[in-house]
């Protein structure tokens, strides 16, 4: 028998367990991509229930369906334009009122809605009594109780979804806005209905409601239509602000007429969370707790990862040796061993860091603490021209700027978002750490830790000053408003965190991994091809990574540019390849100095006179500030949608890096420091 195919969309407020429910429905059959044309993450998954193949689309979490944020526009465009068979709204059973606000808007869209009344157990255990039968009667929507983190109610939900899908197109369920507004709605409906392009695509009443709501996105759509003048003449008769307020009020009023009968007994507020918040956002304890949390997250990410990274390092070192030794053809052996195996090792070595960082971020997010972090930090971020939400992407930058820049999507205001993206690369990512570790370890002995800490602090200071500078010049304007829910604290589940970790890890391997691998092989090739006029075989021992290879030629071309910083041609080459990925700086120095993966040997050569503490510090600072890696540049281009801003960032950073390294070298030499 042919399987029936349906598409369902998951909608819901943030922090209601939507991702958990999505995971519970689809299991491992997931695909992560982007919504077309925008940079909002799109997750889809599949599930076969009985004889129905269900395609599940996870919509961005939203409170409303206005055009406030790109997430909201994406969610409602999908519902309106793609017309999924059923929209499942995940409703937090412990907060019906605000959650049902979104329901009223989904109903207006004319879609078939099924409510998953999630976290049912929490509502029940605190003593709420919700009459789901009454809720179904009032809303004319099926309601299914679920506990997503224990995968309870999933089959019942799917059963209801399949049944609803069979019913076909839903009638529009209307919120009644009262006589005055209804009159205007009818007036607009008549006008909008005349444009068949509009009325064919969108529900006419919904369009009219949104127009009165002052929805910019819909106003734009009308602007280009045949009825623009007529619509505008109707809209000019009303006071926009009054209508907006009255309509939101009416929606809540609709909910409030239903609620007392549905919620036989409902506890308002969240006492347990409030107890935690009394400490966590306390006037005196708030900031110390915040710092402690950040320190813990950082420690786990970087300290716990160290033995794992050492193991990865050892393994690939051993493997490279085995490969190179067991292949009789020296060219092939070198390519596979020093090029490809070493390259894969260079990719894999950051996996522990990235996985642990995203485990921490996931735990902080899922527990509800992330919102408190933004709450505690907002005033500070506001002072530097950003908002509390910018803090999270900046924090993530310590792990890797690539996902960090992707995380700026949660910032609604375009300017805030752009500034957060542009200064993010100054937050020193995990890939730059090996460069510091190696150089500081070689030159600063017991002070290495303090020096590395100083580099991180320098990055933060540069980010802050740059944000202020950009805000005061090229991107003038106030930061966006701060309107944020402080969700109840919840115990994060290991499963959700593990899935999150795995997703980010695989994105890194796919997106960044291939670039890093290609970069390492490319360095190897350049160092293996004889320079013009040199009479030697490809990849022969005597030219490999020396001046007699192509890489030497390249280095000498760039050398004059970095000579004022005290860098020689080898450093110049390493920095060029650092553009492919920052950690290659050390890897390619290893190749250039002929020490390969052996960092101790490299340290010996460097301290023996190839560099000095000043140039080492200069190189660390230069690595911190100059053009971010190619993956990061690519993400910036993708997220800003502008080559202009991307090039601005590259030029700005590289100029700063040059000036900083120059000052360190010149001033340091002049006062005779560290020599």
């Amino acid at each position: 028998m042919e399987k029936k195919k349906i598409t369902i969309a998951l909608a819901g407020n943030p922090n209601v367990g939507k991702t958990t429910l999505f995971n519970a429905i689809t299991g491992a059959r997931q695909h992560v991509g982007n919504w077309p044309g925008v940079t909002v993450e799109k997750k889809t998954g599949k599930r076969t229930y009985k004889d129905t193949e269900i395609e599940v689309v996870d919509l961005p979490g939203t409170y409303s369906l206005t055009a406030y944020s790109i997430d909201e526009v994406v969610a409602r465009d999908y519902v309106v334009e793609e017309k999924p068979d059923v929209v499942v709204q995940i409703v937090d059973a412990t907060n019906l009122e605000r959650n049902l606000y979104l329901t009223t808007q989904l109903m207006e869209l004319g879609s078939r809605v099924v409510i998953a009344l999630n976290m049912w157990d929490l509502a029940e255990s605190r003593g709420d009594e919700i009459d789901t039968r009454k809720m179904e009667d009032f809303l004319e929507i099926p309601v299914v109780k679920t506990v997503a983190n224990r995968a309870e109610g999933i089959d019942a939900l799917l059963e209801e979804v399949v049944r609803e899908a069979d019913k076909g197109e839903h009638h529009e369920h209307e919120v009644s806005y009262g006589d005055d507004i209804e009159k205007k709605i009818i007036e607009l409906e008549k006008i909008v209905g005349k444009d068949s392009a509009l009325s064919g695509k969108y529900p006419v009443r919904w369009l009219s409601v949104k127009l009165l709501d002052g929805d910019e996105n819909i106003l734009e759509k009308i602007e280009g239509s045949s009825v623009a003048t007529q619509v505008n003449s109707v809209l000019s008769t009303i006071k926009k602000e009054d209508y907006e307020a009255a309509m939101a009020e009416k929606r809540y009023e609709t909910i409030n007429t239903v609620l007392p009968q549905v919620c036989v007994k409902c506890i308002k507020g969240v006492t347990f969370s409030d107890m935690i918040d009394r400490a966590v956002t306390n006037k005196y304890l708030g900031i110390p707790i915040f710092l402690a949390m950040m320190w813990a997250a950082f420690e786990v990410t970087f300290t716990v990862a160290t033995p794992l990274m050492e193991f990865v390092d050892m393994f690939f070192g051993w493997l490279a040796g085995v490969v190179a030794g067991s292949i009789t053809n020296p060219v092939l052996g070198s390519l596979l061993g020093d090029g490809i195996v070493a390259g894969v090792g260079a990719v894999m070595i950051f996996l522990p860091n990235i996985l642990l960082l995203f485990l921490m971020i996931s735990l902080l997010e899922d527990s509800g603490y992330m919102a408190r972090a933004a709450f505690v930090m907002d005033k500070l971020m506001y002072k530097i021209g950003l908002n509390g939400r910018s803090f999270i992407p900046l924090l993530m930058g310590f792990g890797c700027n690539v996902p960090a820049i992707m995380a700026t999507r949660t910032i609604e205001d375009e300017k805030d978002r752009l500034v957060t993206i542009l200064v993010n690369p100054f937050i020193s990512c995990g890939a730059r750490l090996p460069v510091y570790l190696m150089l500081a370890g070689a030159f600063f002995g017991r002070q290495a830790g303090s020096v590395i800490f100083g580099i991180y602090i320098l990055g933060i200071i540069v980010a802050i000053l740059s944000a202020k500078l950009i805000r005061g010049t090229v991107l003038k304007g106030k930061p966006s408003p701060f309107i944020m829910e402080l969700p109840p604290y919840r115990l994060p589940t290991l499963k959700a965190s593990a899935i999150h970790m795995w997703e980010k890890g695989s994105i890194y391997l796919k997106k960044a991994g291939t670039i890093i691998l290609a970069g390492v092989v490319f360095v190897w090739l350049l160092s293996a091809i004889p320079a013009p006029g040199v009479d030697a075989a490809f990849a022969s021992e005597e030219i490999l990574g020396t001046e007699d290879s192509l890489i030497g030629v390249l280095g000498h071309i760039i050398e004059p540019l970095v000579a004022p910083l005290g860098f020689d041609w080898k450093v110049a080459v390493a920095l060029v390849f650092g553009f492919i990925a920052k950690e290659i700086v050390i890897g390619s120095m290893g190749v250039l100095y002929g020490t390969g993966e052996d960092e101790d040997a490299l340290a010996e050569i460097l301290t023996a006179g190839a560099m000095n503490p000043l140039t080492a510090l200069g190189l660390m600072v230069f690595t911190l500030l100059y053009v971010p890696c190619i993956a990061c540049v690519g993400v910036v281009k993708k997220e800003t949608g502008s080559w202009k801003w991307t090039l601005f960032m590259v030029a700005y950073g590289t100029t700063l890096a040059w000036i900083a390294a120059f000052l360190i070298y010149r001033i340091g030499t002049a006062i005779g420091w560290g020599l």
Partner: protein, 79 residues
């Protein structure tokens, strides 16, 4: 008591929303989040650095900066 704006209330005080001033998408978001005329609000606390503020509205906790709270005209309710 006379009408005032939400940013001027101290933690612990309760009030009823009269209207939201200002315009544009920020105002609409404030409305969407449940700060509609007639809604009852409780000021929970200030952030450690004094801003933003935390409120209880519609049974959940919402945070606004003083700048946004200033847009909300309220009628304080007796304790």
């Amino acid at each position: 008591m006379t009408e005032t704006t939400l940013n001027l209330l101290e933690p612990g005080s309760k009030a009823k929303v009269i209207q939201i001033t200002g315009r544009g998408s920020a105002r609409r978001r404030i409305l969407d989040m449940g700060m509609v005329p007639g809604a009852e609000i409780e000021v929970i606390r200030k952030a450690p650095m004094g801003d933003p503020l935390e409120f209880l509205v519609k049974g959940y906790n919402l945070s606004l900066r003083k700048a946004e709270a200033e847009l909300i005209v309220v009628q304080p309710l007796g304790a």
